[in-house]
Symmetry: C2
Subunit: 346 residues, 2 copies
């Protein structure tokens, strides 16, 4: 059977997930303030996203012989997870833009946005609860448990990154970055989506360890590429401020590499710039720091690591997962997907 | 059998819940930032709280013949709910104090505190998940469902209150207040605690409607008393800034009553004062607004409504719930408890 192209597949999945989510999210209420809450809960989900995480989940579900009917509810819960977590993330980082539009707290103020994020998180757990009618009690509880692990890892990873900025920590290594990134990004972007997708379709628990290894490497590769796009991407495609990470003082692999290579004067200059930039948001800083990143080939370094991680993910997949795939036409889809994670421009 | 005094009982329950929570919350981690997260998650729970909600849950559980072993996990999840929700609440309201100490975002900055609130919410769901080993699948899922309803009502209620302030709405009626308050406070303070406590012990679903009515009236009475204490309470006992609600521009029943009674000039003065106070936090405003509240007997009015609601809760309890209580010595406990909700000074 011919392999579908993964971009077409993801478009199909995204459409299904969007339809499902907008059916599940409440719409109208007599009390105008609650109606506004419902509008805010629908705001981020209605902005054009890539649907990467539910796409990954539904791809692995199909690959292991599962049906969309069984995976759609969980894939939608995952998409809702992504949406409420970035509402809170945008508040924490003081980000101005999300998917090309003003962040929710910019549109409605921080208090309402924070609470709308909480409300959306509640909707996620409602879908997880509903799994009992879709997957049966046992599998539903396994998915619930996976979501709890994913949730915990993500908040821990977020705390590491925010803590670095809060405590003005600069002496960081690539391993510190990988450890943060595995928690903050890889669990909810790759590990849980791929494993839960397979597990719902009946993938054996003995495969879980390989899925974790696969997803960890892929997720780190994905995040590094995200950090690169934040510096070099096309504003239209990327949907956020270019160089925004520098203004936020984010400890990306690129910045960590620069700090390990530049001379003491340059290092002090970067620290002063970023500490000041965070408070005053001086966009002039972006050019200065970017110039140093180029001088020391830190972006090239990050690209090479991103490719290395993707290669490692591919190897884990080929050696431990590929042979278990029930529907062979999905093997190529998954391999293309791995390449896309580090080649993408959006 | 002699009735225990409810304050002794609540002390006993609170101690059990605290022990349980501190065993369940993570403590140590090699990564210093994650260790800090764990400390932050333990911060509010370690401050002296009243333990009202878990106390109510465990009281109704015992009253219906249940054992503490069965109710403790859910009571602890409820106590965790209260703690993470007030972390976010304090951020949203810009509150400086919680239980006599600086609010979490004052101690650690907003981004880390917001994320710690999310992480603590995750712990709550972990306890809800664990119920399957304590209550069996069916009852565990019923508790899960109750928590979802409680969660949704609370965020909706919070949104109404924040929305009133955000949109500078002043034309509000007592009914608007009751409708907000039922959602924001009554569900998680009274309705869910009492019903879930009884339900875990086997109270029949046919009683639920009465529990909702009982808890709604009791919760509204509780919140009105809380608003009164915010104006007239003892700073030491109360643990928050006295008059803080005025500075935050909170639409309490007292303020709503004042606005409906005072003359146009005074009304404009109050609006100007509160709108300005919110931005500049001018404590001088508190005295001015308080004087008007006294002039129009708005505090007395709120006290009378609080007593009326408590009386109505007591009536619902006596007519529809009291006869179903399995352990008669808890009937008096519950009645004393209703009185305490509106007589308390902390």
């Amino acid at each position: 059977m011919e392999s579908p192209h993964f971009l077409d597949l993801f478009k199909e999945f995204k459409q299904k997930v969007d339809e499902y989510i907008f059916e599940k999210l409440p719409l109208n209420h007599d009390i105008p303030e609650i109606k506004l809450l419902y509008e805010m809960m629908r705001d981020y989900p209605s902005r054009a996203g890539k649907g990467l995480r539910p796409g990954l989940l539904m791809t692995f579900n199909r690959a292991f012989g599962g049906s969309d009917e069984r995976s759609l509810n969980t894939a939608s819960a995952l998409e809702i997870f992504q949406n409420w977590i970035v509402i809170h993330d945008d508040i924490e980082d003081g980000s101005d833009l999300r998917r090309g539009e003003p962040a929710l707290h910019v549109k409605f103020g921080m208090p309402l946005a924070l609470n709308a994020g909480d409300a959306l998180a509640g909707k996620m757990w409602e879908l997880i609860y509903e799994n009992k009618n879709i997957l049966g009690d046992e599998t539903a509880m396994k998915v619930f448990n996976e979501f709890l692990v994913m949730y915990s890892r993500t908040t821990e990873g977020q705390h590491i990154e925010l803590g670095w900025e809060h405590n003005r920590r600069w002496e960081l290594t690539a391993d510190d970055y990988f450890s943060m990134c595995k928690r903050k990004t890889a669990w909810y972007t790759c590990i849980s989506p791929s494993w839960v997708g397979g597990m719902i379709a009946g993938a054996p628990d003995s495969l879980k360890e390989s899925f974790v290894r696969f997803g960890k490497d892929l997720g780190v590769a994905f995040q590094i590429q995200d950090d690169i796009l934040n510096l070099t991407g096309d504003r239209e495609k990327y949907g956020k401020e270019i160089g925004g990470d520098i203004l936020e003082g984010k400890r990306t692999l690129i910045l960590i590499d620069l700090m390990s290579k530049c001379n003491p004067d340059e290092k002090q200059f970067v620290i002063n710039s970023l500490d000041r930039a965070r408070e005053k948001k001086d966009p002039g800083i972006i050019e200065d720091v970017l110039r140093l990143m180029k001088k020391y080939n830190s972006i090239e370094y990050a690209i090479s690591i991103s490719h290395e991680k993707a290669k490692s993910a591919r190897q884990t997949y080929m050696e431990h997962i590929n042979d278990h795939i029930a529907r062979e036409e999905y093997q190529k889809v998954i391999i293309d997907l791995i390449d896309f994670m580090v080649e993408r421009e959006l």
